[in-house]
Point group: C2
Chain length 330, copies 2
DNA sequence: CTGAAAGCGCTAACAC
DNA sequence: GTGTTAGCGCTTTCAG
């Protein structure tokens, strides 16, 4: 790597003169300037990033974004949002844990050695201790869970409301035997959605029937098949996420039942790529993921700047009605 | 930010002693060591990344990964691969151009000021001039196109072969009136796939009928509807990508034709999330994207290390047969 | 054991 | 106009 000094030696001037020319500052004779520019180009000179940020006061802040799985559209969208919030003067260092919790903790713990100004943890499963530990060194943004530490802000989605409105929608569209295919209950998010579902059912004096199912298509498929085989009366299904819903949809079709006429289905997350491709298209509770990513980055910048006022930011999900649950008023 | 000097002052020792303790090097009296560790923790000391990389010889190499759209599963997978290749000692700076060519060029041009060791350009539309310009400063890995410059290596997929084998597969499964819904022909990739299709058709003395259609679902849907409305005989469709194929599938279903019995369909890219969710599931030509990402990172590291021997790396796609084109032998 | 000193590459006063 | 100097925060000889 070419350095200022090399250029200086080659052109018989001082380092500072070279620096001036290359940065277009101060006055330098046209002759030297030409010579310097020429040599710099020949050498393919590129200023050393680290040296420069050390010498200057003004740093480019880099944010460490830790996701469990960049292939998952949810996190890809989140990433997009974060990227958007980083204008010209911030960089995103992406760290994928490949769904390995151990690796994830390692990444979080090491992040501070990589010169990031702060980190965004796009996952709700991190241990509280780790968050607290890391936040004593650098600002942290986390999702889905509140922390009362001055270097941490959390972004939460109103899962309760999302589940509530999805369930209510099913009810208002004529369903009365609505089951909930939920996530495993050790996850906070799953519990909140379960509660939202229950609240809506209770409000209309309907019996809540919920199963902890899981998070992928097959889980939804298997459980739904089981339910239908058992002869249990069902005319509506509210699912933990879109994948589970797609699985349920598959099972319903196998039983030659119509969606939404016989059974209406609503998912959660609103992965458009998925919801609009299946037929009938799937109604789902939309999370403003991209916006959430954008806001998390902005809040991180605030934290880095020293603004300690913000503790959390709540987003409201919104139901997107598609074919799988509409026109069902009887 | 706490510095070594602050700790040194507070503990009445020299900077170098503090450095030794914090790095576990050299011999330091137990008493001082304790004191230093204690103060360091209190201050929430974190070594300055830039200062450290400057002082040490051993740098963490960071790779700049430029993608047009991280939400697109193709690029998400590519990113995954790159991440995988970066072990403990490399970081990925992700830069999303949001499909804005102008922004993309800006990102590529600026990358070198961010201290990256090299960049991977996950897009085939960049201008040759830009690639050449940037590669005079830092190593570059590009896709789909060859360059004869010592600081550039390219990763290419054998699109011709992929298209050829997909088409041949359709023929061998009993199709003879096979149309190709292709991409726009200004894209190199589209042309290669078109040629592969043609080659296979020619080999079996069948008439090639190809249309430049585009890249999204709606394009495939519209064109297929048009074709079916026209009464043209069709029993097989080979599409530019999976989205187009899904669109075509939709159109075929609307005409109450069976897939694959009446019309078999094959896509390209093998986006599993998509292919396995539609029904019937979609056959597709698989690109080993993740592996491509991994290899591109590895080659970039070679380039950075000074290995100038590798110029390009070719990947072979592989057909994945699913319901939309199978069991059709008559 | 401990610390002074040099230096990584660059910037920014401040002299000349 | 141009060069000297003093750091930025850290690591690493090398004396003591």
């Amino acid at each position: 790597m070419a350095t200022l000094k090399q250029i200086a030696d080659l052109t018989k001037v001082s380092v500072s003169t070279v620096s001036k020319v290359l940065n277009g500052k101060g006055k330098v004779s046209e002759k030297k300037r030409r010579e310097i520019l020429k040599v710099a180009k020949e050498l393919g000179y590129t200023p050393d990033f680290h040296a420069r940020t050390m010498a200057k006061r003004t740093q480019i802040t880099t944010v460490g974004l830790i996701v469990p799985d960049i292939i998952n559209p949810f996190f890809a969208r989140l990433t997009r949002g974060v990227e958007k919030a980083c204008g010209e003067d911030s960089l995103v260092i992406l760290m994928d844990s490949f769904r390995d919790l151990h690796r994830e903790e390692m990444l979080i713990r090491n992040a501070r050695f990589f010169g990031v100004g702060g980190i965004i943890i796009g996952n709700s499963r991190v241990s509280d201790d780790l968050v607290l530990e890391v936040s004593s060194y650098i600002p942290v943004v986390v999702f889905d869970k509140d922390y009362d530490h001055e270097n941490v802000v959390s972004i939460v989605l109103d899962n309760f409301y999302g589940a509530y409105s999805a369930t209510k929608h099913l009810i208002e569209n004529g369903c009365s035997n609505i089951v909930h295919l939920g996530g495993t209950y050790e996850l906070y998010v799953s519990l909140q959605r379960l509660e939202g579902y229950r609240a809506a059912m209770k409000e209309f004096n309907l019996k809540a029937i919920a199963y902890p199912v899981g998070y992928d298509e097959d889980k939804g498929y298997q459980k739904m098949k089981e339910i239908l085989s058992s002869g249990q009366r069902v005319d509506g299904v509210f699912c933990m996420n879109d994948l589970v819903a797609v699985g349920a949809l598959k099972a319903v079709r196998e039983f030659s039942l119509r969606v939404p006429e016989d059974i209406a289905i609503v998912g959660f997350d609103d992965d458009e790529q998925l919801c609009e491709v299946v037929s009938p298209s799937l109604s789902s509770v939309h999370q403003p993921v991209e916006e959430m990513g954008e806001v998390s980055a902005k809040l991180l910048f605030e934290l880095i700047k020293g603004n300690k006022k913000i503790k959390r930011y709540i987003f409201s999900p919104q139901l997107v009605v598609r074919q799988s649950s509409s026109k069902r008023k009887e």
